[in-house]
Symmetry: C2
Subunit: 342 residues, 2 copies
Amino acid sequence: MGMNRKRPVTRADIAKAAAVSETIVSYVINGNRYVNSAKRQRVLDAIETMKYKPNHFARALKGKKSNHILFIADDIEGDYFGKLIREIDSIAYRSGYFVTLCADHDDDDFVQRIYSHFFDGIIIGSAKFPLQNIQRLVDAGLPLVLLEIRDYSKVNGVYGLINTGLYQGARECVKYLYDHGRKHLLYIDRIDEKGGASAIDDWRLKGFIDQLREFDLTLTDDNIITGCSSEQAIIESVRKIFSQSHFVPDGIVGRNDYSACIAMKAVKTIGLSVPNDVAIVGFDNSRLARFSSPALTSMEIRQKEIGTIIMNMLNSLIDERASFTGRIEQYLETKLVVREST
Amino acid sequence: MGMNRKRPVTRADIAKAAAVSETIVSYVINGNRYVNSAKRQRVLDAIETMKYKPNHFARALKGKKSNHILFIADDIEGDYFGKLIREIDSIAYRSGYFVTLCADHDDDDFVQRIYSHFFDGIIIGSAKFPLQNIQRLVDAGLPLVLLEIRDYSKVNGVYGLINTGLYQGARECVKYLYDHGRKHLLYIDRIDEKGGASAIDDWRLKGFIDQLREFDLTLTDDNIITGCSSEQAIIESVRKIFSQSHFVPDGIVGRNDYSACIAMKAVKTIGLSVPNDVAIVGFDNSRLARFSSPALTSMEIRQKEIGTIIMNMLNSLIDERASFTGRIEQYLETKLVVREST
DNA sequence: CTGAAAGCGCTTACAG
DNA sequence: CTGAAAGCGCTTACAG
């Protein structure tokens, strides 16, 4: 709307003030043609004093960048994304972008809505965004960086992929517990409000399972608590597992620190001791891990570095897309921060 | 860029497919003129089958909505904003908006950059955004909703203001501690990476101070720890306060749960007991409060409701701006959730 | 009831 | 070295 908004300064105003043609103003702004230096200076002065900013819509209409990037995340609230978004925002701002943040949505419209807003680039940090939609975005030539929360090996084309080490990290959690004598391991998935289970191609879950197999530990449905829609649901599931006689866990891996803390609470209410009876490892190395009691051993994910790498990759894809022929990958290591819970 | 992006379907394609003029397509989409129902149906069918989405830039250029709103926050990482953003995103998506998230920035360019991106509305949840910039946005007629983290009574014009009860909440924290026999109270401000102190018009700090005065408690610089740029800095400040002889706190109010947890840690390292020697109250009622040990008494801020109210207010301001003549206010109550730390 | 046309603020191929 | 003009994808006042 904005019928009562002040009319913003346009390129025509600048042209008039600087006594040059509108064309000259454009070329000064875009720096892509020689312009007489006196004129250039007049234009720059006018821009400065009139506080002119180009209209991004008009530029975008002509095929220029919109200076908006989109970040699709499925756990906006968590510590993991909080840190990531903070870092991405900070770099993006310096590069002239605004970051639009969006949970992923199931409806068919979502991808179309993305198209129609002409984002310069997209970051996907969601375990639930359908692969075929990702493929559509890649096929459409949209600069795309994927956070490898799950297996994306089936996505073809030019895009960036950041392996944040979740698979190896999950395996190391299991190894650490195993090396400390824990052979009956329980995995606690995250809370999903709709009660959905993580897909088997979720890297953390897959790492847990693969490492259990490598150690020849028995693996049944009892080893994995998933599909819980609330804290209470997790607590009850944990209590149920522990009330059985045939499988009593002595080690727990949480998909994130939050899940691990909930499990810790459940274990304590049963009257068991952490870490003596049950050792617990979380993921994210968040504030929660530092202030829980006992303090939680947790797998550190370097969100700040990840943010930097995402933005570098995305900037490359946006500015030099033609120079890439396939997917670009980058691998990051995780690191176990040992505290009192193991 | 996007030189190798597929050309998106445009209004002209729809007109051709539906065998009508481009004008008709526009009127069908905008629903602001009578259109022959057979034609209308052909247009709708074409839109459906060709998955057409209007180009938002072009629409915005003609003065229509951009369908982007901006959320300026100064603590993206914290629990408070995480929940808020989640709720806002969810409502915004249903209303057809994308939410751009941005930390606040000091440079002069910031406001101009906001203008040039033509957001339909702006939400400000930052204690640091300069008042004069806010006034400029209001004066320009931009629909604006302010989260009352600090005193905005000097801002004139049409805008929305949401009083989240922080001032009363802070006073109640002090009252609760006072009623439980604590008369030597310490306030822990949040971490500020640049080492800046909260302005005195920060509602939580102001509530703390005012209530101390009302109770005739002595109030010196010793009562407030601020300007810390790290956890370690807070811990050292707390230890220093406790090492003095003339003022030994028996109660602590944290600006948020994080600050409160850090203080709790510091107090424990001194060898004091929580809550026996020192009672502690936090703000946000976050996960941290539930999983810290002892579990933290904390002031609950109803982020989900706040999110809903923000979006309702913003939608009203965007769609019916003309019907408002001054600022719209809404007040929310906070609620103290008592746990083990008091 | 409906269409051709002007115009939003830009960029840049084209023609000097 | 520089400007007039076409055009990006829309909306809507204007003229039938």
